[in-house]
């Protein structure tokens, strides 16, 4: 457990010292969302109709852009080899790194999402489900993303490749995340989609660290 907390503290400290990285991700989230009114027109009813989906898609893309941070630096400077060789359970190491990633990006995205929702005229009933859905869904996004980030270590054209690997895997999160917001807006209970998002998060937490560890092992060999 000490490895876990030490690694978490280290990653958080590194992220705080280079807080521009997290801010850039948030800024990307904002600008990508702001593009939509220009694309589909500023009519409030159209924007309100698509707001849940737009916020989810842009949040996924923002999270995707931040993924290469999770392992790349450690891979390049050899820290990753040390972590693999240290004898600490690798899935635990992965969970610590993913948690640090989520705290510095997922959480940041959740915090600014209501502001962006205002610009898209999201109906009042949609805010609570949006926040809850992001809260339950973004950990899954970080966990699945870590698998992809570990797989593309050492490739040419890592970034574009990462998108191709990871985005299809994000579709279930996107479907239920958007559904949670939409059902609340149309007056149906959003419990169902939220519960599925929670289930996906538990499943991802159970399986993704193992897959990520396997990918890291073959990357540092």
């Amino acid at each position: 457990m000490s490895v876990f907390s030490a690694l978490l503290a280290r990653d958080l400290r590194l992220a705080l010292r280079q807080s521009a990285d997290s801010l850039t991700v948030v800024a990307f989230f904002a600008i990508a969302t702001v593009l939509f009114p220009f694309g589909v027109g500023p009519e409030a009813n159209i924007l309100a109709r698509i707001s849940g989906g737009v916020l989810w898609v842009t949040a996924l893309l923002a999270a995707l852009l931040s993924l290469d941070r999770v392992f790349t630096v450690d891979y390049e400077d050899g820290t990753l080899d040390q972590l693999v060789l240290s004898g600490a359970p690798l899935p635990l190491v992965v969970i610590a790194k993913v948690l640090a990633h989520w705290l510095t990006t997922g959480l940041a995205l959740i915090i600014v999402s209501p502001l962006l929702a205002i610009t898209l005229h999201l109906p009042m009933e949609g805010y609570a489900p949006l926040l809850l859905a992001l809260f339950l869904g973004t950990p899954t996004v970080s966990l699945i993303g870590a698998v992809g980030a570990a797989l593309v270590l050492g490739t040419r054209r890592g970034g574009v490749l990462l998108a191709l690997l990871v985005l299809p895997l994000y579709i279930p999160v996107l479907i239920f995340g958007t559904a949670a917001v939409e059902s609340a807006v149309t007056g149906i209970s959003s419990d169902g989609p939220l519960l599925v998002l929670g289930g996906l998060a538990v499943l991802a937490l159970t399986l993704c660290p193992w897959a990520t560890s396997a990918a890291l092992r073959q990357a540092v060999e």
Binding site: L151, G154, T155, L164, P168, I171, P172
Partner: protein, 246 residues
């Protein structure tokens, strides 16, 4: 199973199977295609467009089966370092992508007369499209590394991650589809009569044997390529060893 880890053993059996697979594929295509496209009865509702089914449905089945074959091969490769399983998985991927593309194209051409549009976000079309992206990701990751061996292991892990996600994505897409679209858009599957099942099975057989035959060709050429690579390497090594002596 480990007996087949030896390429020579594997190829001995594969070479014995090959003429049968290739022959059966040709025979089934020769008999199946005319039955499917000409002599089978036209549907009373869909008319002749129903014939697309005989190309479309077997392609969809192959697309999925090949993905599972790929995942099984990748698992065997990761668990037992079974080199031939990896070659089978790698050789299957482009075929699977091809069948998925065929399925999508046939589906679009079928959708135009049936639904009045080339594309609807039907649950099955959508999951097949996502499967196509899985294949593309697998192929892209496989050759993104300088060191081909790393590509092998990375893409094997990806294949397993994908196969876990296939049922999850199917479930989500089905759920999403029923949420957004009335069920009337999906094709109502009538009970198929025997004269429809025959061409369907003939075409499925033709596709399967075609896959098997091409798989053997691909594995064989991979092995030959590796042999040539090794021969070149030892030639270069031999030169370098010989030079100081001169």
């Amino acid at each position: 199973m480990h007996r087949f880890a030896n390429p020579t053993q594997f190829m001995r059996i594969a070479n014995a199977i090959f003429p049968w697979a290739a022959g059966l594929a040709v025979v089934l295509f020769v008999f199946g295609l005319p039955i499917a496209l000409i002599t089978s009865p036209a549907d009373y509702q869909q008319g002749d467009t129903v014939r697309i089914l005989y190309l479309h449905v077997p392609a969809a089945i192959m697309a999925e089966l090949i993905y599972y074959a790929m995942a099984a091969g990748s698992a065997a490769f990761l668990i037992w370092r079974h080199p031939m399983a990896n070659l089978v998985a790698k050789a299957s991927a482009p075929m699977g992508a091809m069948f998925t593309a065929l399925c999508l194209i046939c589906g679009m051409l079928w959708g135009e007369p049936m639904w009045g549009t080339f594309w609807v976000w039907d649950a099955r079309l959508t999951s097949t499209l996502i499967m196509f992206f899985f294949y593309l990701g697998y192929l892209a990751l496989g050759d993104a590394f300088e060191d081909p061996e790393r590509g092998d292991r990375a893409s094997a892990i990806l294949a397993l991650v994908g196969v876990v996600n296939v049922p999850i994505i199917k479930f989500s897409v089905n759920w999403w589809n029923t949420l957004h679209q009335p069920a009337s858009l999906s094709l109502t599957k009538s009970n198929m009569t025997g004269d429809m099942l025959l061409p369907l099975f003939l075409m499925l057989g033709a596709y399967s044997f075609f896959y098997l035959a091409v798989l053997i060709i691909r594995v064989r050429s991979e092995l030959l390529a590796a042999k040539i690579r090794n021969a070149r390497m030892s030639q270069i090594a031999g030169h370098e060893a010989a030079q100081p002596a001169e």
